[in-house]
Amino acid sequence: MIIATLAFYLFAIVAVISALNVILQRNPVHSVLWLILTFFNAAGLFVLLGAEFVAMILVVVYVGAVAVLFLFVVMMLDINITLIREGFLKYFWAGAIIGIVLLVELAVVFGGWAMSPEAESLRIAPAPAPDALSNTEALGTLLYTHYAYLFQAAGLVLLVAMVGAIVLTLRRRPNVRKQKIANQVNRSVADTLEVVKVETGKGVS
């Protein structure tokens, strides 16, 4: 038990420190690296909760894929830090006001949060007791059996977003030479080679 408590405080403290560093670093690449450390510690906290499946998926999806793309983009930006700081005071007040408004809104929403009994009864209780099943099975039954249609709908929304992104960024460039694998495979010897008997002194035209 002591080990688990110590591990919790370790993960929690490192997570908070690295999350702070994400916004305090001047260099955006360092920010992304701190963000990755934050993800890691969140995964550690999930393991302590007994949700090892979610922890692993967090590492695979966020650290292994999303953060790589962040890093990819941020590294290629040529960010001039002095230029960014130039307009800092000018926009500071606008930013602060927006922040305060958002904070008040959040406080109002969460202060008045109440669940109607109808909505509460609609929620499916985790059908078999979570202790009897492994993590993966429990999540699987919930997602693919109880909420299968919602899951499919979420997938469709993501598909639309993906198609949209591709349509927005794809541009056809004319006059670009590309390798056409089908043409290469379909080529036969007769199309490309010709065996000629050359008479001496005549040559081939």
Partner: protein, 344 residues
């Protein structure tokens, strides 16, 4: 006090001992893998390879290690020193970290994790950070280009690796690596999943940045890619990390497709004369033999195939491997449901 000793100290020491039992043979194996690669490629190209230091050149890896340790460590100007030295350490650590869940015999594993396959996938997908950080921190164009190539390449091939893993998991019905191996008793998965076995192995070549997909360090275009600015031990850590990754990935291939520590006696009922002999061989020997086989193929491929062009590499990953593994996943699921063979 007695509670502390029995509850924390002894289990802690036992875990450290187990880690050493895994790490030391892996390090030695890695050192001799570099030697084996040079000798095998030498033999394939009708040369001798390293044969001077010690009998048959067997001390060559140690000579190389000593040479690298005595070199000067150069830090390029304008680099980001912390990230620059963190990168090789991450590569090396990640290659060792994966062994925490790999079972070398029934019950011989440091942590018998319930989501072992996911853990392996997570660790192998982190390998890209070492390379990307090295490329960025070096503040050099060659290194940066190599890192960019590597990031795109590894992210692309991870997708097909993940899908192939899902097909295998569906057949076994477990994310636990020990149960996955036990499920292969009688039929190793490389037979029913043969196309995926080949596809997985090729993806592994791309994931470890080995030939013919070694574009991140293509020496004819990028000097040495992301390692250009590294010297001395920081270079050695990258170099050794690559070889440890090869061993780790070979272990993954043997567990997912070649039946881990299982001997061939269950697969070959015709050889009943040999069964007692084969069953007598301990499981770890089979496992090491399978890893050696995979490593030999790694080296064999390097000596045989020319390097892929970058657009061909991307085309292969996204337009060939991804659709094929997706279709195979649907086929596997359909087959298992139709014939009512889903594992419980």
């Amino acid at each position: 006090m007695a509670e502390f000793v029995d509850g924390y100290l002894l289990p802690g020491l036992w875990i450290v001992g187990k880690i050493l039992l895994f790490a030391v043979p892996i390090m030695i194996g890695m050192a001799y893998l570099t030697y084996a690669e040079r000798r095998i490629i030498g033999a394939m190209q009708m040369r001798k390879g390293p044969n001077v230091v010690g009998p048959f050149g067997l001390l060559q890896p140690f000579a190389d290690a000593i040479k690298l340790m005595f070199k000067e460590t150069v830090v390029p100007t304008g680099s980001s020193p912390v990230v620059f030295f963190l990168a090789p350490m991450i590569t090396f650590t990640l290659a060792l970290l994966a062994w925490a869940v790999i079972p070398v015999d029934s019950g011989w594993v440091i942590s018998n994790l319930n989501v072992g396959v996911l853990y392996l996938f997570a660790i192998s997908s982190l390998g890209v950070y070492g390379i990307v950080m090295a490329g960025w921190a070096s503040n050099s164009r060659y290194a940066f280009l190599g890192a960019m190539r590597s990031a795109a390449q590894m992210v692309s091939y991870e997708v097909s690796i993940g899908l192939v893993m899902i097909s295998v998991l569906l057949t076994a019905g477990s994310l636990n690596l020990t149960e996955l191996v036990e499920a292969q008793k009688g039929l190793w998965y490389f037979l029913p999943h043969f196309p995926m076995f080949i596809l997985f192995f090729i993806s592994v070549l791309a994931e470890t940045n080995r030939h013919p997909f070694d574009l991140p360090e293509a020496e004819s275009e990028l000097v040495a890619g992301f390692m250009t600015e590294y010297s001395s031990m920081s270079f050695a850590l990258f170099f050794l990390g690559e070889y440890m990754n090869m061993i780790m990935m070979s272990g993954m291939v043997s567990i997912l497709f070649l039946g881990g520590w299982l001997g061939p006696q269950d697969m070959l009922p015709g050889l009943s004369v040999l069964t007692p002999v084969l069953a007598w061989v301990p499981g770890i020997v089979w496992f090491v033999l399978k890893i050696c086989f995979c490593l030999f193929v790694f080296i064999w491929v390097r000596a045989t195939f020319p390097r892929y062009r970058y657009d061909q590499l991307m085309r292969l990953g996204w337009k060939v491997f991804l659709p094929f593994s997706l279709i195979w996943l649907v086929l596997t699921a359909g087959f298992l449901v139709y014939f009512d063979k889903l594992p419980q």
